[in-house]
Symmetry: D2
Subunit: 256 residues, 4 copies
Amino acid sequence: MDQVDLNSDLGESFGPWVMGHDREMFEVITSANIACGLHGGDPLVMHRTLTLARENGVGVGAHPGHQDIWGFGRRLIAIEPEEAEKLLIYQIGAIQAMARAVGVPVTHVKVHGALANQMAANRALAQAAARAVGTVDPTLIFVALSGTEQERAAREAGLRVAREVFADRAYEEDGMLVSRTREGAVLHDAAAAAARIVRMVREQAVTAITGREIPLSFETICVHGDNPAAVAMARQVRSALEAEGVAVRPMAEWVF
Amino acid sequence: MDQVDLNSDLGESFGPWVMGHDREMFEVITSANIACGLHGGDPLVMHRTLTLARENGVGVGAHPGHQDIWGFGRRLIAIEPEEAEKLLIYQIGAIQAMARAVGVPVTHVKVHGALANQMAANRALAQAAARAVGTVDPTLIFVALSGTEQERAAREAGLRVAREVFADRAYEEDGMLVSRTREGAVLHDAAAAAARIVRMVREQAVTAITGREIPLSFETICVHGDNPAAVAMARQVRSALEAEGVAVRPMAEWVF
Amino acid sequence: MDQVDLNSDLGESFGPWVMGHDREMFEVITSANIACGLHGGDPLVMHRTLTLARENGVGVGAHPGHQDIWGFGRRLIAIEPEEAEKLLIYQIGAIQAMARAVGVPVTHVKVHGALANQMAANRALAQAAARAVGTVDPTLIFVALSGTEQERAAREAGLRVAREVFADRAYEEDGMLVSRTREGAVLHDAAAAAARIVRMVREQAVTAITGREIPLSFETICVHGDNPAAVAMARQVRSALEAEGVAVRPMAEWVF
Amino acid sequence: MDQVDLNSDLGESFGPWVMGHDREMFEVITSANIACGLHGGDPLVMHRTLTLARENGVGVGAHPGHQDIWGFGRRLIAIEPEEAEKLLIYQIGAIQAMARAVGVPVTHVKVHGALANQMAANRALAQAAARAVGTVDPTLIFVALSGTEQERAAREAGLRVAREVFADRAYEEDGMLVSRTREGAVLHDAAAAAARIVRMVREQAVTAITGREIPLSFETICVHGDNPAAVAMARQVRSALEAEGVAVRPMAEWVF
C-alpha cells in the first residue's frame, strides 16, 4: 500500500476542562474523530474543533459514545441495540449540523470507548451501529477495528469501511489488540513505533507480540495526543511514513 | 383568517420519567415541538415521539432549550449569543437526524422555556437563534411570540415566521402575555377559551385583560397536554375552530 | 416471627418529573428508601420526601445508586470497588445532611437498581458497600437480599442487617428471585400476594416457583408504589399482616 | 494583624479532566475549598483531594456551587432561596461524609462561582446560605466577601465568619472587587501582589484602584492555582507574609 490515513480522537475538552493537545495534533493527522457532547465535547468545543479541522484541511468524523460524562464514555454500560442505534443517530446528527455551520462535511464515524468495544464484540450492537450510520448518511465511512463484528456489520450494511490499527499498541496473533493489562501492550518508543508502522503499511502485516508475522489489512492509523510524548510519537509516525514515500491522506479521499 | 395551526410541546419525557399526555395530544394538534435531549427528551423518547408524529400526520419541529435537565430548561441561565447559537445548532441537528431515521421532515423550530424568554427579550440572543436556524436549514419556520425580538430577528434573517398565541393565557394591551403571577393570567374554562380563540382567529385580535380590544396577528396556537383538563381544553379549542369553518392545518403547509 | 418492616423506594421524582405515588405509600410503609440525587431525586425532592417521612413516622434510609440519570440507575455500569465505595459515601452523606435539616435520623441504607444487583453478586463490590456504610455511620442498618454477597459482606463488617423479600416476586429454590423474563416471576393478584406474605412472615419460608417449600428468613418486605394497582397491593399486604396480628414496625425499632 | 489564612479552590477536576495544580497548592495554602460534585469534582476526586488536605495539614472546607457541570458553576442561574438552601445542604453533607471517610473535619464553607455572587448581592439567597450552614453544622466557618449580604446574613445567623480578600484583584473604594472587564482588575506581578498583601494584612487596609487608601478587614486570602504563574504568585505571597512575621495558619485554628 502506498497511502494511509492518520486519525486521532479530538474535541474531548468539556466546558472549562481541557483535554489533549488538539492544535498540535491537527498539524499531524488527516482525519479527526470529534466527540459529540455525550461523553466529552460540548457545542462550543465541537464548533471550535470543527473550525480547526477546516483550517488544517483535516477530514471530520463523528466520535459518538455512551451518555456518560462522569466516566468519559470509558465505562461499560449495558445497552440494548435499539437504544444504541438512537444514541448514535442523535450524536451524528448533532455534529453534522455543527459541521454545516462551520462549512466542513462529516465523512466518517468512529464509535468511542466502551461502546466501541461492546460493538466490536456484539453482533446485534454492531448491526445497530451500522443501521444508525446508514440511516443518517449511507456515504459515511465506518471506521472499525479490523476483523471485528463492527467491520462485518458495516460491510453487510453496504457501508464504506476504514479498518483501523494503532500506532502504539501490540497485537495478538489473531489480529486483536493485546490487553492493556499485559506487559508490552503499549509501545512507548516513538522511533520503534514509527518504523513498525512503515512496515505495517508497506506489507499490510505486523509482528504479533508472540513474534509471529501476521497479515493485517487497514486504511487508517490511530495516533494519540494526550500528552507531549504522544504528540511527538504521532509526529514521528507521520514523518517516517512520508520519508518512505507513503502518502498520508484523509480516508475520505481514497477509501471506497 | 380561515386557517390556523395548533402546536404543542411534546416528547418531554426523560428516561423512565413520563411527562404529558402525548398520545392524546397527537390526535388534537397539527404541529409538535419536540424536546431535543438537553432539558427533556432523550434519543429513545425522541424516536418514539417522532414516530407518533408521522403516524398522526403531525408536523415536526425542534424544541431546543437550555442544557438543564434539573430545571427542565425553565431556569434563566446567563448565556452568550455565541454559545446559544451553537446550543441550538446542536439540538436541531440531533433531531433532524432522528427525524430522518423515522422518515419525517423537520419543518419548524420553537425555542423552549427560559431560553425562549431570553431570546424574546434580548436582541443579540434572538439574532443568534435566527443565525442557528438559518445555518442548519433556512427553510425551517421560526415560531416566535408576536412582536418580540425573536420575531424581528427571524424576519431580518429572511426566515419564514409563525407567530404564536396561547389558548389559555390572558394578554396585556401591548400584546404581551400577562405574567403568571397575576390573577386571571391563565384561563381555566375550556369553553370560554375555545370561544375566545375562534374570535381571535377570525378577527386577528384579542380582548386584553384590561377589556380593550387589541390587534393580534398569529399563525399558530399553543395548547398544552400536561393534565387531563389541558387535553380537554385542547380538544375543545380544535372542535370549536372546525365547527366555525376554520381549517386546522400544519403550519408547514401554508406559512410562507 | 410476629413483626416485620414494610419498605418502599420513594423520592424518585426528579425536577419536574413525577414518579410514584409517594403520599399514598407513606401511609402504608414503615421504612422509606429515598433516592439520593444521582439516579433519581434532587435536593428539593429529597427534602420533600424526608418531610413526608417525618410526618408519617416512617423510618428513613438512603437509597444510593449509580450516577446515571438517563438510565435511572437501572443500567449495569462497570465500576471498581474503590469508586463504588466513594459513590455510596457521597450519597449517604448528602441525605444525612438533608435529614438533619428536616429533623429525622437516617437509620438504614439500601442500594438501588443495577448497582444493588452488582453488589449482590460481586464480593469486592459488596465489601465496598459495607465499608462505605461502616465509615459513614456504623449504626446504619444494611438492607440486603437474603443469602447474597451483600448480606455476607455486611455481617462480616459487623453491621446490622435487614434481609429483604419482595411481596410481588416469585422465588427460586435457592432463595433467589425468579428472573423477570420468566412467566410467573411477578405476582399481580394482591389478595394472593398478601396471603402469601402472611405465611412467609409466620413461617419464615416460601413456596418456590417449583412448588417446593424453602426456608427464607427476612426482616423487611419491599412493596412498590409505581401505579395504583401496586399501591393497592401494598395496602392489602399491610392489612393482611395486621389482621393476622403481625406488628408492622420500622426496622430501626427492632433489628439489631 | 499578625496572622492570616491562605485559601484556594481545589478538587475541581472531574472524571478524566484535570483542572488546577492541586499538589503544588496544598504546599502553599492553609485552607482548601473543595468542590462537591455538582459544578466540579466527583466522589473519587473529592476523596483524593481530602486525602491531600489531610497529608498536608490543610484545613478543609466545602465549596458548593450550582448544579451546572457544563458551565462549571460560573453561569448565573436563577434560583429560589428555598432551592439554594437545599442545594447547599446536599453538597455540604456529601463532603462531610467523604471527609469522615478520610479522617479530616470539615471546618468551613465557601460558596462557589455564580452562586456565590448571587448570594453576595441578594439578601434572601444569602440568608438561605446561612440557614443551610447553620442547619448542617453551626460550628462551620462561613467564608464571605467582606461587606456583602453573605457576611451580614452569616453574622445574623450567629455563624463564625471569615472575610476573604483576593491576592490578585484590585479593589474599588467601597471595598468591592473591580470588575474583571476593567483594565487593571487583575494583578499579574507576583512580587507586587505579595508586597501589597503584606501591607493589607498589617494595616487591614488596601489602596483602591482610585489610589485612595481604604479600610479592609479580613481573615483569609484567596490564591489561585490555575496555571504555573498563579502557583508562583501564591508561593510568593506566602513567603512574603512569613518573611514579615505574619503567621499563616488555617482559619479554623483562630477564627471565632
